[in-house]
Amino acid sequence: MSFATHGRRPLLLGAVAVVVLVVVSAGPLQVSRAAGMTTLTFLGPKFDEWEAFIKVANALGKDLGIEVKPEYLPWEDVFKKALIDSKSGVKAWDLVYAYNTWVPGIAASKVFTPISDFLSKPANKSLVKPEDFIQETTAGLEFQGKLWAFPALAAPYVLGYRADLLANADERKAFKAKYNYDLAVPQTYKQLLEVAQFFTRKKGDTVGGKAAEEDFYGICLAGKPGGFLFHRYEMVLVAFGADLIYNQTSMQPTVNSNESIAAAKYYAQLHKYQQPGSETHSGGGTQRVFAADRCALTMDALDNILSVAEVPSLSKVVGKVGYTLLPSQVAPRPHAHVADANGPGIYALSQHENEAFRLLARVLSTEGTKELMKEYPALVPMRASVINDPQIKKDYPKMVEAMNAVITGKPWTVFVPPLKEWVQAQEMVENALSAALAGQKTPEGAMIEAQAKVVELFKRAGYIK
C-alpha cells in the first residue's frame, strides 16, 4: 500500500462522516421548513404543567403553522438563563416562563416584551379577552401598569386538611377532651397549631381508627432554603400583621417588629409538628409526604397539593383532602396570603413575537385552558370562564371548591414588593428563620440579627441613612 492510498482512505471516511452528520442534523429543520411551520422555542422549568403546555401548544399550534420546541431548566435557573442570554444579545428564545417574584426584574432588565403592548391593538384584545382573567390571581404578573406574562397558572396558597381525620368520631372526642373545643378545620393559627400538635403521633399509635404504619405528623410544610422556607413563612408573617420584611412607605426594615418576632416564634412552635427532614423538602417533596398519608395538614400552593394528593398513582389520600383558605390571626387581615402567579412571557429578542403572541392567545384561551387541564388536571386556571364552566365544575370539583373559596372568601392578598434587593433581604430572613428552626438561635435573637443585616443592606442601597 502506497503512502497516497494509505492517506486517502481516512480522508474519504472523514468526508463521508461529515456529510452524514450534516444531513442528519439538517434533517428536522428541512422537515419543518417543508411543512411551512414556524418553530418557536420555549424556555421553562421541567414541571408537569409546562410539559403539558408544550403538548397542547403543539397540538393547537398546528392550525396556526406553529410548533414549539422546549428547553427545560431547573426552575430557579430559568430567569437567570433568560437574563444572561438577553444581556448577551442571544436571540434563541421566543417564549420564557415567568414567576411573579421575577416580574420586577423582568421589567427592569427588559427581558420580555409586555403582553400589554400586544393588547393595545383592539383585535388582539378581543382575541385574549383580558376581562375574563381573575384579578385576584393575575396581579402578580403586572408591574408598573403592564402585564408582563400571559396568565396561565394561578397558585393561591391554601390549607389542605385531612377531612376524614377531622370528621373521625374518636379523634373528635379525644380532641374535645384535650382542648375543650370541637375539632374542626382551623380558622385561626392558634387552632392550626393545636390541630397539628394533636395529630402528631408515633408509629403504631392510632390515627383515624388505624394503627399508623409510620410516624404521623401534624403538618407538612416545605422548608428547603432558597425560597421554599420563606415562602411558607411569609404566609404566617403577613397573617400576624407584620410587613413583608420592611415598611414600604418609610423603607424601614421591620424584621424585629413585635409582629415579626411573634410570627417567627409561632413558626418555630409549629415546626415541632412538621415532618422531619423538611429542611431539604421542596413543595413537591413535601406533598409526596402528605400524599403518603403521613400528615394531617399542609399549607401550600393549591396546584402543588392537587398535583400529588389527588393523583391515584401518587397518593394514598385521594378524595380525603379538603381545601380551604389559610387561617387568620389579626382581624384586619382575614386569611392573609402572599399570592403566586405563573405564565409564559414573550422574550424581547424573539424573532417571532407575533406568532408567539398568537400561540399564547390560542393555548391560554378558555378552550385551550380546558385542553391544558386534560393534560395537567392540577392546573388552577386564571380565567373565570373556565372556573364557571359546568363541565369543569363536574370534572375538577376539588379545584373549583378551592378557587371558589379564594374568589368568594376574598382573602387578604399581597404580592412580594418590587424591591431590587428583595432576594437578598428574603434570604437574610430565611437564613435567620432556618437557624431558629435548627435550634442554633432563638427566634427573637435570629430576627434581631436579620434586622441588622437588612438595615445594612438598605443603607448600602441608599433607602435609609
Partner: protein
C-alpha cells in the same frame, strides 16, 4: 537553548509560540482581568445598564462582611476535614489494593465509580440517602435502635453529611494516586523488609509511607483546593443551611452573582479569594518541593 542563542530562529520561535500566547491571553488572562475590573464596579445585572466604577467600595464592604468571613471559616473546616477523611480512606484503600487481593482490577473499578459521577448526582444520591422520611440511612439507624439523627437538619450533622458525600466521591482519587505511588515501590524492598522480620505495620510505616509522602502531599493539596471551592453538593443537599451553617464560600459567591445578581461584589469576592488561594498555593508548592526533596534523600 536560550533567546540569545536562537539567532535567526527567533522569528520562527515567536510565531510558533503565538497560538499558545493568544490562548493564554484570551482564555485565561482576559476573563481574570475582566473579573478584577468588575470587582471595582457597581453592577447589578438586572437593574444596572452597565457596570459603574465605584473604586474600592466593594473591597471596603468585604472587610465588614461577616457572612463572608463565616463562609470562609466554614470552607476551611470543610476542606480540611473532607481532605483528611479522603486521604485516610484513600490510604487504607490503596494499601488494600497494593496487597494484590483477588479480583483487584474489578474491585478497583467499582471503587473508582463515584469519582466519575457528576457532583450534582452525588449530591442528589446522598440527599436521598439522608432523607429523614424516606432515606435508608435514618431507617438503618431506626432498625439498629440508634439515635434519631436529623442528618441535614442540624448544623453539625449537615456538615458531616457533606463531608461524607465528598469523601465518598473523592476518596477514590486519593486511593488511585496513592496506589500508583505504592506500585512504584520495588517489590524487593518488601521482600527484604519481610526477611528482616518486619511486621505488616512496620513495613507500611517504615518502608511504604516514607516513599509515598510526596504523593500524599500532592493528593492532599489537590483535594484541599478543590474541596475549598465545593459548590454543587452544597446546593443540592443543604442549600447552605440550616441557617448559614453549611454556606461555603462558593455558595456565597453563587448567591451574590446569581441570586442577588450583584456581579460587582461577587467579582470582588472572587478576586480576593483568588489572591488568598494564590498565596496558599505558593506556600503549598514550597512545602511540596521540600517534601519531595526529603522523600528523595
Amino acid at each position: 537553548m536560550t533567546w540569545a542563542t536562537l539567532g535567526r530562529g527567533r522569528l520562527a520561535f515567536a510565531l510558533l509560540m503565538l497560538p499558545a500566547v493568544i490562548y493564554v491571553l484570551t482564555w485565561r488572562l482576559a476573563p481574570a482581568l475582566y473579573t478584577v475590573w468588575l470587582s471595582l464596579t457597581q453592577y447589578n445585572i438586572v437593574y444596572d445598564a452597565a457596570p459603574q466604577l465605584n473604586h474600592l467600595e466593594n473591597y471596603r464592604r468585604i472587610v465588614h462582611d461577616s457572612t463572608l468571613g463565616e463562609a470562609l471559616r466554614l470552607s476551611v473546616i470543610f476542606a480540611v476535614l473532607a481532605t483528611a477523611v479522603e486521604l485516610a480512606i484513600g490510604l487504607a484503600a490503596a494499601a488494600f489494593f497494593d496487597s494484590d487481593p483477588p479480583g483487584r482490577n474489578l474491585l478497583l473499578g467499582i471503587f473508582l465509580l463515584p469519582m466519575i459521577m457528576a457532583p450534582v448526582v452525588v449530591g442528589t444520591v446522598w440527599s436521598a440517602l439522608f432523607d429523614r422520611t424516606v432515606g435508608p440511612i435514618p431507617y438503618l439507624f431506626e432498625l439498629l435502635h440508634g439515635p434519631d439523627v436529623q442528618w441535614l437538619g442540624t448544623p453539625v450533622t449537615a456538615m458531616v453529611g457533606l463531608i461524607f458525600s465528598d469523601a465518598w466521591e473523592w476518596a477514590p482519587l486519593a486511593a488511585l494516586l496513592l496506589f500508583s505511588a505504592m506500585q512504584a515501590i520495588p517489590r524487593e524492598q518488601h521482600d527484604a523488609a519481610r526477611s528482616d522480620g518486619a511486621s505488616s505495620w512496620q513495613l507500611f510505616f517504615r518502608v511504604v509511607l516514607p516513599q509515598i509522602t510526596g504523593m500524599l502531599v500532592v493528593a492532599g493539596g489537590l483535594r484541599l483546593m478543590d474541596a475549598f471551592l465545593e459548590l454543587d453538593k452544597v446546593i443540592v443537599m443543604t442549600g447552605g443551611g440550616p441557617g448559614t451553617s453549611t454556606q461555603l464560600v462558593s455558595m456565597y459567591v453563587y448567591k451574590q452573582a446569581f441570586q442577588a445578581y450583584d456581579l460587582g461584589y461577587a467579582s470582588t469576592v472572587i478576586t480576593t479569594l483568588l489572591a488568598l488561594l494564590a498565596v496558599a498555593y505558593a506556600f503549598y508548592l514550597r512545602h511540596y518541593g521540600r517534601t519531595l526533596m526529603s522523600a528523595r534523600t
